[in-house]
Amino acid sequence: MNPKRCAACKYLRRRCPKDCIFAPYFPPNDPAKFACIHRIYGAGNVSKMLQQLPEQTRAEAVESLCFEAKCRVDDPVYGCVGIIHLLQTQIQNAQNELAKTQAEVAVAQTNLSQTQNSDF
């Protein structure tokens, strides 16, 4: 038994076994991380998801789950889909601005070459 329980087992008020699947990713000094993920996904679902993944990818999976859970807690309606929408809007705005600036550059280049030709 792990003498120092991980945050997940502390939250679940259970013993933390040596091979606890949560222990590597939920250190006891960050209880909020597991609390958030448990609230959205539930310990059982997270455990199942992690068990189905190769060990070397679990850390990344936990981080992405934490991110999505945090987004969902902060925005219960849209979660991280809200961020996707915001980014897509930003991309659209940037593309519009880019097209506008490219047109301005073309005009400026035309004016410049006309000026240079008239100088000659």
Binding site: R39, I40, Y41, G42, G44, N45, M49, Q52, L53, T57, E60, A61, E63, S64, L65, F67, E68, K70, C71, R72, D74, D75, P76, V77, Y78, G79, C80, V81, G82, I83, I84, H85, L86, L87, Q88, T89, Q90, I91, N93, A94, Q95, E97, L98, T101, Q102, E104, V105, A108, Q109, L112
Partner: protein
């Protein structure tokens, strides 16, 4: 795709909703899932949601959301669930990172073009270089590559906040851990998420993802009026 609030999909005579059909339980009158998971395709969508989030978690989530916002919430939950099943490691975070990189790339290109435009618009050129020469001297590929890591996602709004054009285009994000504006400022109304749902579910901009059309559209989950 059945309309929202269709009584035939709720318990009490019209057969179970998709969620209760999947859970193999009696669909009671007032079932919280019934308006959003119809009998035909709702079960398939709910399967993904149940696998990732769990029925009780989703139920609790929906109970805390105003009823008029629940269709949007169900669409986003279905999207996240399907993204997670498709990519068990990153879920839809990979899509966010990809979009973030696109934003940064576009901002960089825009900054470069604006600087170039400023050079062209100078009344007297500072140095006798041709425009093509200045373009060759400074190339997009020479600019530093920005590779946001997964762990930096919490601060990915900072480049937006510091960018001049972004400030002009977007309202300043609220002081939030993830810099996410409130949902009301992101999506104006229920109609927008409904319009977005086919774009999301049919793989509008999902990078390297299989076609989402096989699993149906989340818009079929949401019963339109």
């Amino acid at each position: 795709m059945s309309s929202s609030g269709n009584p035939s999909s709720s318990g009490g005579g019209g057969g179970p909703c998709g969620a209760c059909k999947f859970l193999r339980r009696k669909c009671v009158a007032g079932c919280i899932f019934a308006p959003y998971f119809d009998f035909e395709q709702g079960a398939a969508h709910f399967a993904a949601v149940h696998k990732v989030f769990g029925a009780s978690n989703v139920s609790k989530l929906l109970l805390h959301i105003p009823e008029h916002k629940r269709p949007d919430a169900v669409v986003s939950i279905c999207f996240e669930a399907q993204a997670r099943l498709r990519d068990p490691i990153y879920g839809c975070v990979s899509h966010i990172v990809s979009l973030q990189q696109q934003v940064v790339s576009l901002q960089t290109e825009l900054s470069y073009l604006q600087a170039h435009l400023a050079t062209l618009e100078l009344p007297q050129p500072m140095a006798p270089v041709s425009s093509s020469g200045s373009l060759q001297a400074l190339s997009i590929t020479d600019l530093p590559t920005i590779s946001p890591s997964l762990y930096d996602l919490s601060s990915f709004f900072e480049p937006v906040m510091s960018s001049t054009w972004a400030m002009q285009q977007q309202p300043r994000p609220s002081d939030h851990v993830f810099g996410v504006p409130s949902s009301s400022s992101i999506i104006g109304g229920g109609g927008e998420i409904q319009a977005l749902a086919p774009e999301f579910i049919h793989g509008g901009q999902m990078p390297a993802q299989p076609s989402l059309g096989t699993s149906g559209s989340a818009s079929t989950v949401i019963k339109r009026e």
